[in-house]
């Protein structure tokens, strides 16, 4: 068990007292990982409207610590906990009317369900299990969040166009060459290479930060990345 340095460890240990910090941490995580929860419910056979309500209800209950008893610290990671407790929620405890009343009446989180539905529709329709879809959506949500953070940082630094031009280079040499991008940005090629190098380093750091939020022990970050590698390569 790690020290209370991650969002997930804060939440795990916030059962007794309803600390503001823990609530904020919880909200951060839910907003980031809304899409995988939504996708899981959709793939479990619910309509878009129901899935939205159910996801909201699930988060609401979680938020109110109704699920505190389900905490399994030994699971170690928010991802595995979330998936298991979501399964539990859908299988045993779902009372649609109650949830509608709760979730429908009182929006406690501002969540963008239209983009989650859009992503869900983009997934191929073949027989992915809800669990497999959850993992995929999780990886996508994580990476999207990291890219969004990087974009915000670049915007704040007054370089919004630069980020969009350099983004394709994050994964390696981009589809167009460095000279073309340098020309488009009005920079030297060397400056573009340096900027890409810094952007990659920064992305790696942001990715680790975001994953650290979801694991109990920061030492688990590498293992979590490897697991996500398996997910995106279709081997998980």
């Amino acid at each position: 068990m790690g020290f209370l340095t991650t969002d997930w460890s804060l939440i795990q240990h916030a059962r007794a007292d309803d600390s503001t910090e823990a609530r904020q941490a919880m909200a951060r995580l839910f907003e980031t990982y809304w899409a995988p929860v939504y996708g899981f419910i959709r793939r479990s056979g619910y309509s878009a409207a129901d899935a939205e309500d159910l996801a909201q209800a699930y988060f609401a209950r979680f938020y109110e610590k109704r699920y505190a008893g389900d905490f399994r610290p030994e699971a170690g990671r928010f991802r595995t906990f979330l998936r298991a407790s979501l399964q539990h929620f859908l299988a045993n405890e779902w009372d649609r009317q109650r949830a509608l009343k709760r979730g429908g009446a009182q929006r406690i989180l501002s969540l963008d369900s239209s983009s989650a539905e859009e992503r869900y529709r983009l997934e191929p329709a073949y027989d992915l299990t809800p669990e497999a879809l959850f993992e995929r959506e999780w990886a996508a949500a994580l990476l999207t969040t990291c890219l969004a953070r990087l974009r915000t940082e670049e915007d704040k630094a007054g370089r919004p166009a630069r980020f969009d031009a350099l983004k394709p280079f994050l994964a390696g040499d981009g589809p167009s060459g460095y000279p073309e991008v340098a020309g488009a940005l009005g920079l030297e090629e060397g400056a573009v290479r340096v900027a890409v190098h810094r952007l990659r380093k920064r992305f790696g750091a942001v990715l680790r930060e975001e994953i650290e939020r979801t694991v109990d022990d920061p030492a688990d970050v590498d293992a979590e990345i490897r697991w996500l590698l398996a997910v995106v390569s279709g081997g998980a």
Partner: protein, 578 residues
């Protein structure tokens, strides 16, 4: 850096992953993005992320061979010759300074630009001695030294040409100015062999110093030579450059090793290097591993002979193995220069260490599929009385074999016994301390003092299974010794808890039983283990279709580098000095 084959449409140009579904986020490859987050030494360096599986060869360390690759012996010889040439020419230039001044002082010859000649010759003396020093002490990587040597070739050529043009040219006989330049251009590729293309470029540049130096001569006050003379003299130099290319091509053919022609270096590792080669008569592509004897701790000829005889015994034993999951050893031996080599199947695949590092832990059904095949290989070897003793993810390769996908091959059978104490990961020094990361060391190996049996391989296989299922080593520690102590005493965390996902009970039980501290508590044999693993019920099956889908999705094209059209070395790293 433009040698790479064009990426297939819809695939990441860097790692080859098909950019569909979760593999792409905002049009960027998700796998490469995730790789940016891995901590140092794995894919943490942004440069490393771009390594496609296309250049990973299972037989080596994962270090990509640089494109100037030439056989190590040729490079070492080249360094020695460059040193001798630098010393010889340095002395010659120095003597020329003395001699020219004596001739002038004695009134035997009147130089038109003696002081300028002195400056050029003195400069070349210093440069030659510097090159000799670099070639002798080898502070540069082989590729850099090769580049330097070619620059030196051009520099010497320039000095010779300027020297010639500081005196008035003989204009009444067409070939009277046949210069040392031509001799230099032709013989240099013999002294320092380089790739034909580089040799041609350097020779062409060297030949071009002749017309260039003519301009220097004019600037120094000499009359301009007639056009026909300049043309004929320059033609001589360029003909010499063409001859140099022929020389380089002949030298290139020296990349022969017994019955094999070395085609292209695949990898450069700490222990040696791996080459893609072809048998002369059968034209069969093979992998040749060259091991420098000093890295095996061999110091004297008798030790070398002893090691060769050990290799021979092991090779004979290996030849008795029949499992298709054991990599075939075709040949082995020692070159006249004392470099050990062995010749194996050339595999189109990934070792299991790389597999998990790049693609994360595998689903239980795939782990079972891979492990059952490894068990078959081990059972066959154990029946023949051989123990592998170095079962680890890096020694198991999953590959495409004919029409089969995810076909496992166990490497280095029979050879590990000879090199056991000299491996890169589990190196034990003579005083018993551990000098590596003994991540897969069975307790009885660490404790020593009792004969090892086949169950040591089952412990290793348990560690491999753990790695496949969790992406983690069974034990970690701040120091190698801590890892060893953990293997001896600590109880492993069950893989399902470590990996955070449920696993079939039977599978987890078998993995943990392989990791038992006492050999008697482990499965009785590899054959038994293979049968029990095959009986494990998993939620899904790892079918040939799934295996093929995985390979098609994740591995673009052929993993085997094919000559110049093979995957490019994007971030050359030099493992060895010359």
């Amino acid at each position: 850096m433009s040698e790479a084959p064009p990426p297939r449409a819809g695939r990441c140009p860097q790692c080859g992953l098909a950019l569909v579904g979760p593999a792409s986020v905002e049009g960027v490859c998700a796998s490469c993005l995730l790789g940016l987050g891995l901590s140092g030494g794995e894919q943490g360096d942004a440069q490393d992320v771009s390594a496609p599986p296309g250049v990973i060869h299972p037989l080596g360390s994962g270090v990509v061979a640089p494109h100037w690759a030439m056989p190590v012996e040729l490079l070492r010889q080249a360094a020695r010759r460059l040193r001798d040439t630098g010393l010889g020419l340095g002395a010659a230039f120095a003597v020329s300074v003395v001699l020219n001044n004596l001739l002038e002082a004695g009134g035997f010859y009147a130089f038109t630009h003696l002081s300028l000649k002195n400056v050029v010759a003195a400069g070349m003396t210093v440069a030659s001695l510097w090159v000799a020093w670099l070639a002798h002490h080898r502070p540069l990587a082989p590729g850099q030294l090769l580049k330097l040597s070619l620059a030196y070739e051009v520099g010497v050529a320039l000095a010779i040409s300027i020297g010639d043009h500081l005196e008035p040219l003989v204009t009444d006989v067409p070939l009277a100015n046949v210069s040392w330049l031509c001799v230099w251009i032709v013989i240099f590729p013999l002294v320092v062999p380089a790739t034909p293309s580089r040799t041609f470029l350097a020779s062409f540049a060297a030949a071009s110093t002749w017309p260039l130096a003519h301009l220097v001569g004019i600037a120094a006050g000499n009359p301009a030579a007639p056009g026909w003379l300049l043309l004929s003299n320059s033609a001589e130099a360029y003909i010499a450059a063409a001859l140099a290319l022929v020389t380089a091509l002949v030298v290139r053919r020296m990349q022969e090793l017994g019955s094999y022609h070395l085609e292209r270096k695949i990898e450069q590792g700490g222990m040696g290097e791996i080459w893609r080669a072809r048998h002369h008569l059968l034209a069969r592509p093979v992998a040749v591993k060259l091991i420098r004897p000093e890295l095996l701790g061999v110091k004297t000829p008798s030790e070398a002979a002893g090691l060769v005889s050990r290799f021979r015994r092991e090779a004979e034993a290996t030849a008795a193995l029949h499992s298709s999951h054991t990599v075939a050893l075709h040949d082995f031996g020692m070159t006249p220069d004392g470099v050990f080599y062995y010749v194996m199947d050339l595999l189109d695949g990934l070792d299991l260490d790389t597999l998990v590092r790049r693609f994360g832990p595998v689903p239980p059904e795939r782990a079972v599929h891979l492990l059952v095949q490894a068990c078959e290989s081990l059972a066959d070897a154990h029946a023949a009385g051989l123990i592998h003793r170095d079962v680890k993810p890096a020694n198991l390769v999953t590959c495409r074999w004919g029409l089969k996908y995810d076909f496992v091959k166990v490497l280095d059978f029979g050879l590990v016994k000879a090199t056991w104490s000299l491996g890169e990961d589990e190196r034990l020094t003579s005083d018993g301390t551990i000098a590596g990361t003994p991540a897969y060391m069975a307790p009885e190996v660490a404790l020593g003092g009792r004969p090892l049996d086949a169950r040591v391989d089952l412990y290793g296989l348990g560690c491999v299974a753990y790695w496949l299922l969790t992406g983690e080593r069974v034990f970690t520690g701040a120091t190698p010794m801590e890892v060893v102590l953990n293997h001896v005493k600590a109880t492993p965390i069950p893989p399902s808890k470590r990996g955070g996902r449920p696993l079939p009970e039977a599978l987890e039980g078998l993995v943990l039983s392989c990791l038992a501290k006492e050999p008697k508590d482990r499965p009785p044999s590899a054959a038994w283990l293979g049968e029990r693993l095959a009986e494990c019920r998993t939620e899904e099956a790892w079918t040939p279709a799934r295996a093929r889908e995985w390979w098609d999705r994740n591995v673009a094209g052929d993993l085997l580098p094919r000559g110049a059209a093979g995957a490019k070395p994007r971030h050359p790293r030099v493992g060895d000095r010359l």
